[in-house]
């Protein structure tokens, strides 16, 4: 798990009312996610500039990125977030483990890490 990080956009946005803990019953689609300091993963539909509104109030997070769900399977999960820019592959693996604990099937090769210096991305799992 990573050291908590505050959003780079420190404006205290209100938490989006659609923000919810990731769990069973999530529909197919693209989502952004933020893991709060207690380890819970919250999601919102992938729309413009939503990462700071997942937790709201410029709250720190221990990981953030985006993911794609298709028929209860995780097609991909990444560390992609301009707002948080987590750069630790182990934190992403920890998110993937938590997704599995939550009952999601993670496709082979779905855990994809993008180094924030722009160097080539890699598949972690």
């Amino acid at each position: 798990m990573c050291r908590p990080k505050s959003p780079l956009d420190s404006f205290p946005y209100e938490r989006d009312p659609r923000s919810r803990a990731l769990g069973a019953g999530v529909e197919d689609g693209n989502y952004i996610y933020v893991q709060d300091i207690d380890g819970t993963i919250y999601i919102l539909p992938d729309e413009s500039h939503m990462h700071p509104k997942v937790l709201g109030n410029a709250s720190p997070a221990i990981y953030a990125g985006d993911l794609r769900v298709e028929r209860r399977r995780i097609v991909d999960v990444t560390n992609l977030s301009g707002t948080f820019q987590f750069d630790d592959p182990h934190g992403l693996l920890s998110v993937a483990t938590q997704l599995a604990v939550l009952g999601f099937i993670i496709n082979e090769g779905a855990v994809r890490f993008f180094p924030m210096d722009g160097s080539p991305p890699c598949i972690l799992r």
């Binding site: 798990m1 050291r3 908590p4 505050s6 693209n30 300091i37 207690d38 380890g39 992938d46 729309e47 413009s48 500039h49 990462h51 720190p60 221990i62 985006d66 794609r68 991909d76 990444t78 992609l80 977030s81 301009g82 707002t83 820019q85 592959p89 182990h90 693996l93 090769g109 994809r112 890490f113 993008f114 180094p115 924030m116 210096d117 722009g118 080539p120 991305p121 890699c122 598949i123 972690l124």
Partner: protein, 335 residues
Amino acid sequence: MRALILEDNRDRRVAMIGRLAERFPFLHVTFFDASKKMIEFMESDKLQDIAMISLDHDLELISGSQGDWIDAGTGLDVARWLSKRPKPICPVVVHTTNSRAGGKMMRLLERSNWVAHRVIPHDDLLWIDTDWFRVTRNAIVDFAPQRRSPPILQVENKVSLIRSLLEDRYDSGQAFCKAAIAIILDAYVRDLRPLSGDVSAEVISFVNKDVLASVLDFEGPVVRWWREVGFSLRSLDTWAERGPLAPEQLGVGEEAAERLSRSGVKQIQIRVIEIAEMQALLVVSATRSLAPTAVQEIITELKKAIEIAVFVGLHWLPSGKQSKLTQKKKRKGLT
């Protein structure tokens, strides 16, 4: 990583780059307003780190310096050039309202084995935020990564790295330990403060079975309180490795617990640091909760960092001996 986009409309460009930067802050985006310029660029570039190409079809005429108008070409010109390359290099998104030309571009690219996606603009710029970004994001995430292990530095390598960096600066392992622990505590306490309020952390070593001493030259609120109330040395031991404890959970009686609370301490946590024959205690106290997962992760990391520092200190070589060894290695060409 780079993206190349054929798009001459300023508003579209602003919307595209804004949306990409939110998710791919490291992506370098180059826009072109004419097919000829884009083809010339691609001919002169190795195109090794291109993650995505997006192509409009209809482009506005460009005003020349002589008051003339220059034909900017079309996205079809670029699709034709791409299709003639020996092999595809990245996914391509075709974003044009011209359905006939868009279809032509798609067929040309697909016939030459390019992974091509079609996005039809609608509702002014709304399609960029929704359809175009979703297709582009999925295309980059599907295509870009290669399978390899994450870079992990082994603990042994970390230790030798620390040693190589610091060995010359300290005469003894003890001096190194003291300096390293002070730096580590300071750094981690700063990380903990936003989460747990006013945090104090110290490392206590046992001088013998009845006497303990702070490794550094200060005492935190817990140890000060512990000395004031005069508890036995064993009490600190019994609170170790039990997670965050509130004063009333220490089993020290109402008055002593109240006294600790009055000093502002809401929770304490004691972790045992054990390396070889040495045992010490890491004492963390906070004016807010130490319970959240993230706080626990930081405390665990803090404990590991101190253990590494102690490990390095225990395996310290006197500087004279170290430099002789280094010289010997240099002579043998080992360094």
